[in-house]
């Protein structure tokens, strides 16, 4: 498959307008909440105001009596007997015996209007017995901590651990103590990060319809329609194939829309309301209280380093809470935290902890930013202590092809060294800094996921092509897949239409997650295009009366492969397609697999900040992202991914955080107080696309979507130390904390 010998591409690497662009800028694109149907009802959800409470009694009679109310549901309307993650999903969709976090759904209503549904929700009476709660991950493993759920630990948790520890892991190699003994400097510190939300602009929205016959439909904003299908049917006890799920356009997901939160409620309400479609749209407050942010983390890191910057040993012990259910990304955080470095002696220990918070979901490189914050912060301090240049230290320890990763496997082709060298050569590094300014550098890593992938391609009668993919387009994947398909078929970019299709149209596809859409769906589209090309060559060979093997495909046309094959003028795709009905029927290509050859991506960020010494306020002066893309199919959208990752990381580093009151209620469930960066907070983010092609992809693609959020947390902490002399080990590095740190060091 390797097409690397094609030194010159006609389309790959160009920057055409995205096919969904016009619809999006004119407001014509249909997002989750834009879907409506005749007879549709509106849903509203009653949510727990308590962080932890026993549900003693729910009285829905007044709500049911209200005119216009067509269905009221509680957990009693769901099937029982689920286990494992299916039970977790059901319990998170609708509380059972206990409400486990502020915002946990307790009951839901469908009515003839949104206002009526909301009015009915206010008429539902719930008697709670408020229970002690725990929010902080370190508090949750204290001996006297309230227990979220007895017996929730899986088999990995050794006897005698605190009951809120539900998963435990340790792995590594070598002898870290021997490694520390070899070092000239050993440092150990503890770091904490708060939970942050993906902050996608489009709140969750769906319209579900379910009949008494168990056949249903769902229109939903999601990153993965098959995941929605599988999870909804599991939670509701339906046959998987009987639910058809159609994805809408998606206004951001960043991992947060790879699972379900409220979708089964619309189906359950629909069924109870006689099969009428039920629309459910979350408010921003619902999104922040009751969908999945990432985990909060408490992390100990210990590293040994020689005077020349060589890392001799490294140990990480991470504790993460991912809400009231197992599933914090502590494993991923550990896999990634030392991934850029060649280590003989390394040890990882991880605890997945329960707390009274919403069930965490994936958030762009889940876990990796937290681990990087701890490790890259400590490395920076050690470089300062030893007087070693932070980029030289990273180059000295950088992993290369063939090295064994800190988390076990052997690296194939990777581009960390090239990335660090490109960083070193960038002009931003030689811009002089003024007073109260500082420069910070950090590296980061994320994988590239494969996953179940099914793609169909069909040639239309006019010689254009349509591609059906199952991965919703979050970051420009339709443009990238169209470019690769057009390049392969030898036709113009505009002649390919890529459609994101519903569950009935293809085999199972995993969501757009793990930086996989352009890699996996793109690879499958190229293979499918190859099948169509083979068929078109066969049709030309039939017409010419020569052997199909003697026909080759060049620039969108079949032609005899050399003079011996016969002398015929090239037959174009339009000519072949125009007579497909009489030459054997439709021409298509199909490919399904769990593709191999994933290509991981390393990045390095350099940030310049200025800190107001009197207020602790940090301004980002300039920001540079350097990252290996393998090959950038559509460079503008690769740059967009780099910039987007950096922007989210900057928000996480400086101001974003879940803030809970003493009562365990989330205090900042609106964007006024959940402070994502606004446009004027950020400079234009500089990008450098490093291209070390991934040999596992026909056009060299690596996953690029996630790595960019990994380095900003430590890079900014490192820059703030340079600017102020104060080292921040807890996020967010908000002005009150930075000012306090400046004052604490006597500044």
């Amino acid at each position: 498959m390797a097409k690397d010998e094609f030194k010159e591409f006609k389309l790959v690497g160009t920057r055409p307008d995205r096919p969904d662009g016009l619809d999006k800028v004119t407001g014509r694109a249909r997002y989750g909440a834009d879907i409506s149907a005749p007879g549709m009802l509106w849903a509203a959800v009653l949510r727990s105001p308590h962080a932890h409470a026993r549900i003693v009694r729910i009285d829905t009679s007044k709500a049911e009596a209200l005119t216009g109310v067509k269905a009221v549901i509680t957990r009693a309307d769901f099937p029982t007997g689920l286990t494992g993650e299916d039970w977790n999903l059901q319990e998170n969709t609708m509380a059972g015996e206990r409400a486990l976090y502020d915002g946990h759904a307790v009951a839901a209503v469908a009515a003839t209007s949104k206002l009526r549904a909301e009015e009915a929700v206010r008429l539902i009476e719930v008697e709670y017995e408020v229970l002690p709660h725990v929010i902080d991950v370190d508090d949750a493993i204290k001996p006297d901590a309230p227990v979220i759920r007895e017996g929730a630990a899986d088999a990995t948790v050794p006897e005698g651990m605190p009951p809120n520890v539900v998963r435990y892991m340790e792995f590594g190699r070598g002898d870290v103590e021997a490694g520390f003994a070899e070092a000239d400097l050993v440092m150990e510190k503890t770091y904490k990060t708060e939970a942050t939300h993906q902050g996608y602009i489009e709140p969750h929205a769906c319209m579900g319809q379910l009949g008494a016959d168990g056949k249903g439909e769902m229109w939903v904003c999601t990153q993965g329609q098959w995941f929605i299908r599988k999870m909804c049917t599991a939670v509701l006890g339906l046959e998987t194939s009987q639910l058809r799920v159609t994805p809408s356009e998606i206004g951001g997901g960043f991992g947060g829309k790879t699972t379900i939160f409220m979708e089964p409620l619309s189906l359950a309400l629909s069924k109870k309301a006689g099969g009428k479609p039920v629309k459910l749209v979350m408010s921003r407050s619902d999104v922040l209280r009751a969908t999945g942010p990432t985990a909060s983390a408490s992390m100990d890191v210990k590293i040994g380093m020689k005077k020349d910057g060589t890392i001799t040993g490294a140990r990480a012990e991470f504790r993460m809470q991912g809400g009231a259910f197992p599933g914090s990304p502590v494993d991923m955080a550990l896999y990634c935290c030392f991934a850029p470095y060649k280590l003989k002696n390394v040890e990882h220990v991880g605890y997945d902890v329960l707390a009274n918070r919403p069930k965490c979901a994936a958030y762009r490189a889940p876990g990796s930013p937290m681990g990087a914050f701890a490790v890259e912060s400590l490395l920076d301090e050690m470089c300062r202590e030893l007087g070693v240049d932070p980029l030289d230290m990273r180059l000295k320890n950088a992993v290369r092809e063939g090295d064994t990763a800190s988390y076990g496997p052997k690296y194939g082709s990777i581009g960390l060294v090239e990335t660090l060298e490109a960083t070193k050569a960038h002009p931003n590094l030689s811009i002089p800094l003024g007073p109260n300014q500082g420069r910070g550098i950090a590296a980061g890593y994320w994988f590239n996921h494969n996953g179940e992938t099914s793609v169909s391609l069909a040639i239309s009668e006019d010689g254009t092509a349509q591609v059906s993919v199952g991965t919703p387009d979050i970051g420009g994947s339709r443009a990238s897949i169209a470019l690769m398909t057009a390049e392969t078929l030898g036709i113009p970019y505009e002649d390919v239409r890529v459609n994101v299709v519903e569950t009935g149209a293809l085999g199972v596809n995993e969501p757009t997650h793990g930086s996989r859409a352009t890699f996996a769906s793109g690879k499958a589209a190229v293979v499918a295009a190859g099948h169509a090309i083979t068929e078109m060559c066969r049709r030309a060979a039939n017409e010419w009366g020569i052997d199909p093997e003697a026909v080759e495909w060049v620039d969108g046309a079949a032609q005899p492969a050399g003079d011996n094959a016969g002398k015929f003028p090239p037959m174009t795709i339009a000519e072949i397609a125009g007579k497909m009905g009489s030459t054997g029927g439709p021409i298509s290509g199909h490919h399904e697999s769990v593709p191999d050859g994933v290509g991981a991506s390393f990045g390095c960020h350099v940030v310049d900040v200025e800190v107001d010494p009197e207020t602790g306020r940090t301004t980002i002066l300039r920001y540079l992202v350097v990252q290996d893309a393998g090959r950038a199919i559509h460079p503008a959208y690769v740059e967009g991914q780099y910039q987007g990752g950096a922007a989210q990381g900057i928000g996480w580093a400086l101001n974003e955080a879940y803030i809970y009151g003493e009562d365990g209620r989330l205090q900042n469930s609106v964007f006024l107080d959940y402070r994502v960066p606004v446009a004027s907070d950020l400079p234009m983010i500089d990008t450098v696309i490093v291209e070390v092609p991934n040999p596992g992809h026909p056009y060299g693609v690596r996953g690029v979507g996630e790595t960019g959020i990994t380095p900003p947390l430590p890079a900014i902490a490192n820059a703030i130390q340079e600017a102020t002399g104060a080292r921040l080990c807890e996020l967010p590095m908000s002005p009150p904390k930075v000012l306090a740190a400046i004052k604490a060091k006597g500044g």
């Binding site: 306020r617 205090q667 006024l672 107080d673 402070r675 907070d681 002005p735 009150p736 000012l739």
Partner: protein, 288 residues
């Protein structure tokens, strides 16, 4: 809910006085409509003031000051040359409220009546010595702006009373004002601390001053001690330090999701120093 559109303030006051349940006045609507949509407030009577003649106008008063109608949106303040020349600190406070879209609707009067200690336009009005004209069942009266908010979300207005205009005094010569707020971001945020300073110079010496702080007490606060710290000085280093100290000393903030007691207290002093220097530069003719 009953929706009313009176054409005089007297009628509006009568409607409010006769109303039995929850009453809200509507001008820009950037607080009331949002609160209604969020389910925080369900008024029984909603009295829209925009049909009253003159409510969207800024007019010069006989004494050389300004009268600002209750429905004048923020964006109109910034577009008014006379007002910007006289009271740039008042204008910049209002301009910090919300987004461009919000600026097209939001009003000074609404910002004041919302009763938030963090209201960005209020410290500037207090420092300016602005007053409000109140219309009620018993006629009209004028009250200094600082007497309107009494606690978070509460005002001194009695049942049936409403503000019918904001009145800015004549600016006079050699004077300037400024408002600064602290937010962690650059816009679209709520003040963690706000500070307004208005002063008059004789040469380089401060002869009059008023200082007002926001978001550091249950209401926006006039701080005479801070003004006294700079009157008679040239805003030298010692005077600025005394000003900062007096401003910090006047703070009685809370710890909340937006800031800590220590941070607000400290930064109130920092912002007040900086605002005083801007006000001084403006008094000397610097239009920045």
């Amino acid at each position: 809910m009953r929706y009313h559109t009176p054409t005089t303030f007297e009628d509006a006051a009568q409607l409010a006085a006769q109303a039995k349940g929850l009453t809200r006045f509507l001008a820009g609507g950037t607080d009331v409509l949002v609160q209604m949509r969020a389910g925080m407030v369900q008024p029984d009577d909603l009295i829209d003031l925009k049909k009253i003649a003159g409510v969207a106008e800024i007019t010069a008063t006989d004494d050389g000051g300004w009268r600002i109608g209750v429905a004048v949106p923020g964006i109109a303040l910034g577009a008014h040359e006379g007002l910007c020349a006289d009271w740039p600190g008042v204008v910049e406070g209002m301009e910090l409220v919300g987004s461009t879209q919000i600026q097209g609707r939001a009003t000074l009067t609404g910002n004041l009546c919302n009763g938030s200690p963090a209201a960005d336009s209020v410290p500037g009005l207090v420092a300016a010595g602005a007053s409000v004209e109140i219309t009620g069942p018993d006629g009209t009266r004028n009250v200094p702006v600082e007497e309107i908010p009494v606690s978070p979300g509460k005002t001194a207005l009695k049942a049936g009373e409403l503000i019918s205009a904001i009145l800015l005094p004549p600016r006079g010569q050699n004077a300037g004002d400024a408002y600064l707020r602290f937010i962690p971001r650059t816009e679209m945020d709520i003040a963690v601390v706000g500070s307004a300073v208005s002063l008059r110079l004789d040469g380089d010496t401060v002869t009059e001053a008023r200082v007002a702080l926001g978001a550091v007490a249950p209401t926006v606060k006039l701080v005479p001690e801070a003004a006294e710290a700079i009157i008679g000085t040239t805003l030298d280093e010692a005077a600025l330090e005394a000003l900062a100290k007096a401003a910090s000393a006047a703070c009685s903030p809370i710890d909340d999701k937006r800031g800590t007691v220590a941070f607000r207290t400290e930064v109130a002093g920092v912002l007040t120093k900086r605002a005083a220097l801007i006000a001084k530069a403006r008094a000397k003719g610097d239009t920045a």
